[in-house]
């Protein structure tokens, strides 16, 4: 039986993309798989009694070395903010290429806590900062200092001790350009350095609470138990800054989605299934149904999605219990999920199916990067009529949108002068629309199409471009989409109906985030590495930690 890839017009809708879950392809999991045989060491931990100071963690294999330099600073209550508009943080981090000298550490100490206002150099690879979850941090320190382990129901309802609020890489604020590291074998997956930074920062959060608890009461303090620490991740608050990335990197987006779709296609194409494989799937399904109760959110949007997921999973469980072992078992399972459940559950089932077949899925994680420069240039020898046909075929959905309607052009994306981050605003009540970013892809491709239609169809694109360069930025996307079918989100990103959190969720699911907790329609809290092996036990990881019961 021939099973096709799912069609882009089905997959690339934001409602579905915004329902993706972490999987074996997620970057934090592929980071651990790649680095599990590296040596992880605490190199320096120089903190005062209150946990302020710095630490350095070194990851090395042979002559290759990376170091996370962490700074912990005092922060007044009224200065603590997760929003990107903050200017001070409890902790700040920088990933250094090699092992830093004391001069490097001093230089970094003067700059890294300042984040966007500081400068780093090409010796540094990634930059980040984090704030304490004050309630959890104080509780943990208090309990440990008294010789007791903390209340796990409180801990797991939050899921972390600190949450990061941004992770910067690839040349920002003077960091090394991607070109410096792109040929390193261990960094062949997307965002691998960012994943390394967050993983090591998680270790720093454990070391800080243990250190502070010890100094608060040296005679009674105990260390946080490994079992509890393992079930804590590191949080992240993410705003709109992340959303334009997936629009601005169409070729890369295609690679991520294509890897997932190829994995699903391969699994659905399996003609037979073993009892053991069904048992593995069921065990993960049962664990996650238990763990969902820790997914806390105040967002009505996410509460409704989670409730629907729980409801759909119950129905799915009934179906799965009665499902006979037949040829193309997984194809039947997938088709049932697609027809009978909402996207949130269907995509969850897809992630679970991928867990059962590491030999199919894991190699695909090496196909998730791409050299975007190879797709930048426009083939101007192509005929205008041919390009119109290409748009009609690839962008059918947007040709019918009426962009004269206020609802369809309601929002505009712009770049904030204050924080150098993308933002979204109402075009009709706020100023700045004349400085709109080129993220209104649907509107601009429709305009390009109309403009091409007014040109002699026998001429080639070089003729068109000599007359008009206004839509050059989307013309190159038409060519990218021709070669890379999952490169375009097939929704209007300036519509009033847009839910920006869906764009964040798409990217965060590929990072490997869990426990989506939208704080509004445009920023979200998530957890990373919850359940992941601790630094000292990373070599023992078998990549099943995402499906460990939290208790």
């Amino acid at each position: 039986m021939q099973v096709d890839l799912r069609k882009p017009e089905f997959v690339m809708k934001l409602g579905r993309l915004g329902s993706f879950h972490q999987s074996k392809l997620s970057f934090l999991r592929s980071f651990i798989r790649e680095f599990k045989d590296w040596d992880f060491q605490t190199h320096i931990l120089e903190l005062d009694n209150f946990g302020f100071g710095h630490g350095v963690y070194v990851v090395q294999k042979g002559d290759k070395q990376y170091s996370l330099v962490c700074f912990s600073n005092h922060l007044n209550e009224n200065e603590r903010s997760d929003r990107v508009i903050a200017t001070k943080w409890d902790a700040s981090f920088v990933l250094y290429d090699g092992i830093p000298s004391s001069e490097d550490i001093q230089r970094l100490k003067d700059n890294v806590p300042l984040q966007e206002q500081g400068r780093v150099t090409e010796k540094e690879l990634c930059l980040s900062r984090a704030n304490k979850s004050v309630r959890v941090f104080e509780h943990v320190v208090d309990r440990l200092s008294q010789g007791h382990q903390p209340d796990t129901s409180l801990l797991y309802s939050v899921g972390y001790l600190y949450r990061t609020t941004a992770v910067y890489g690839s040349g920002k604020f003077g960091l090394a350009d991607r070109i410096k590291i792109q040929d390193r074998g261990e960094l062949k997956g997307p965002f691998r350095l960012e994943m390394m930074l967050v993983y090591l920062a998680r270790q720093f959060t454990f070391d800080v609470v243990n250190h502070v608890a010890h100094h608060r009461s040296p005679s009674t303090a105990v260390k946080l138990s490994d079992d509890i620490a393992r079930n804590l991740g590191i949080g992240n608050s993410t705003g709109l800054g992340m959303a334009p990335f997936i629009v601005n990197h169409p070729a890369l987006l295609n690679q991520w989605i294509m890897a997932k779709e190829k994995a699903l296609q391969a699994i659905r194409s399996l003609s037979s299934v073993k009892e053991k494989e069904i048992e593995t799937f069921q065990s993960y399904l049962s664990t996650i149904q238990d763990n969902i109760k820790y997914w806390k959110t105040d967002s009505d949007y996410q509460v409704q999605k989670n409730d629907q997921l729980i409801h759909d999973l119950k129905d799915f469980q009934k179906y799965f219990d009665s499902k006979k072992i037949e040829n193309f078992f997984w194809n039947d399972v997938y088709e049932w999920a697609e027809k009978q459940t909402e996207a949130e559950c269907c995509e969850f089932i897809v992630s679970l199916m991928m867990e059962v077949y590491p030999h199919i899925v894991e190699p695909l994680s090496y196909e998730m990067s791409i050299d975007e420069e190879d797709y930048f240039d426009i083939d101007t020898s192509r005929n205008i009529n041919e390009i119109c046909q290409l748009i009609e075929k690839q962008y059918t959905w947007l040709l019918e949108v009426d962009f004269k309607e206020k609802e369809n052009i309601y929002n505009f994306w712009y770049y904030s002068k204050n924080k150098q981050e993308p933002r979204l605003s109402d075009r009709f009540s706020e100023e700045g629309a004349e400085l709109e970013l080129p993220l209104a892809i649907a509107r601009d491709i429709q305009n390009l199409y109309k403009s091409l239609k007014k040109t002699d169809p026998k001429k080639d694109l070089s003729f068109y471009l000599s007359q008009d360069q206004q839509y050059r930025h989307v013309l190159r996307r038409v060519f990218i989409c021709e070669q890379l079918p999952y490169s375009e989100i097939q929704d209007n990103t300036i519509s009033k109906a847009l839910i920006p959190v869906d764009m964040l969720r798409l990217k965060l699911s590929f990072f490997g985030a869990t426990r989506f907790d939208p704080r509004s329609d445009r920023w979200v809290r998530i957890t990373m590495y919850q359940g992941a092996p601790l630094m000292k036990e990373i070599s023992l990881s078998n990549d099943s930690w995402s499906y460990k019961k939290i208790a």
């Binding site: 150099t121 090409e122 690839s170 040349g171 920002k172 604020f173 003077g174 960091l175 090394a176 350009d177 991607r178 070109i179 420069e373 930048f376 240039d377 426009i378 101007t380 020898s381 770049y415 080129p438 694109l461 070089s462 471009l465 000599s466 007359q467 360069q469 206004q470 839509y471 050059r472 930025h473 989307v474 013309l475 190159r476």
Partner: protein
């Protein structure tokens, strides 16, 4: 020092701020990035163009265009990048002047590679050839801020850069790796049968 990412995004945004389209701004961001990565003063040249003002520059949009003074190097480069696949472009053009010719070079390099063509620019103060090969050598001290009354030959024909004597000397040396053939070897060495008429 700024990262190449910062250079590219800053140039892209500042080009947009001057009224260029997003697509053209993306192109110039990448071009200046390439120049800076190659150790050439792309950013300085771009700043000179901004200071000069795009309103004071002429866009090249047609090969038969009469007005070719004060040409904009961005539109000059993009024009040849977009048009050079056309056979009618393979000729020699005469232009009156081009501001900051350095900026046009990354575009011409792309066009040369993609279409396997050569650009030979010639004036009193500048002589430069851009080829489809991987190696391009540019001395920034020899690229003026303005090139006047220059010609540009666009051709798919490679030009030889060596004397006949150099070639002959090297060819004779290459023969020293060959084995002299006897009549017997001529019959057996080529692997053919006794008759080619079978």
């Amino acid at each position: 020092m700024h990262s190449l990412y910062e250079i590219e995004t800053t140039v892209k945004r500042s080009a947009k701020s001057q009224g260029l389209s997003w697509g053209v701004s993306e192109e110039i961001g990448k071009a200046i990035r390439v120049l800076e990565q190659s150790g050439l003063q792309g950013l300085e040249s771009f700043k000179n163009i901004i200071d000069y003002g795009f309103d004071n520059l002429i866009k090249l949009i047609d090969i038969n265009q009469k007005e070719t003074s004060n040409l904009c190097p961005i539109h000059f480069g993009i024009f040849f990048q977009d048009q050079s696949h056309l056979k009618e472009m393979h000729q020699t053009f005469e232009f009156k002047s081009l501001q900051e010719p350095l900026i046009s070079i990354p575009f011409l390099i792309k066009a040369a590679k993609k279409n396997l063509i050569y650009f030979h620019i010639h004036s009193d103060n500048l002589k430069i050839s851009i080829t489809p090969s991987e190696m391009t050598s540019i001395d920034q001290n020899k690229i003026p801020n303005l090139v006047s009354n220059f010609s540009m030959n666009v051709t798919p024909q490679r030009q030889s850069q060596y004397s006949d004597k150099t070639w002959e000397d090297l060819y004779q040396l290459s023969l020293e790796t060959f084995v002299e053939e006897t009549e017997e070897k001529k019959l057996s060495g080529a692997g053919a049968g006794l008759s080619d008429n079978d």
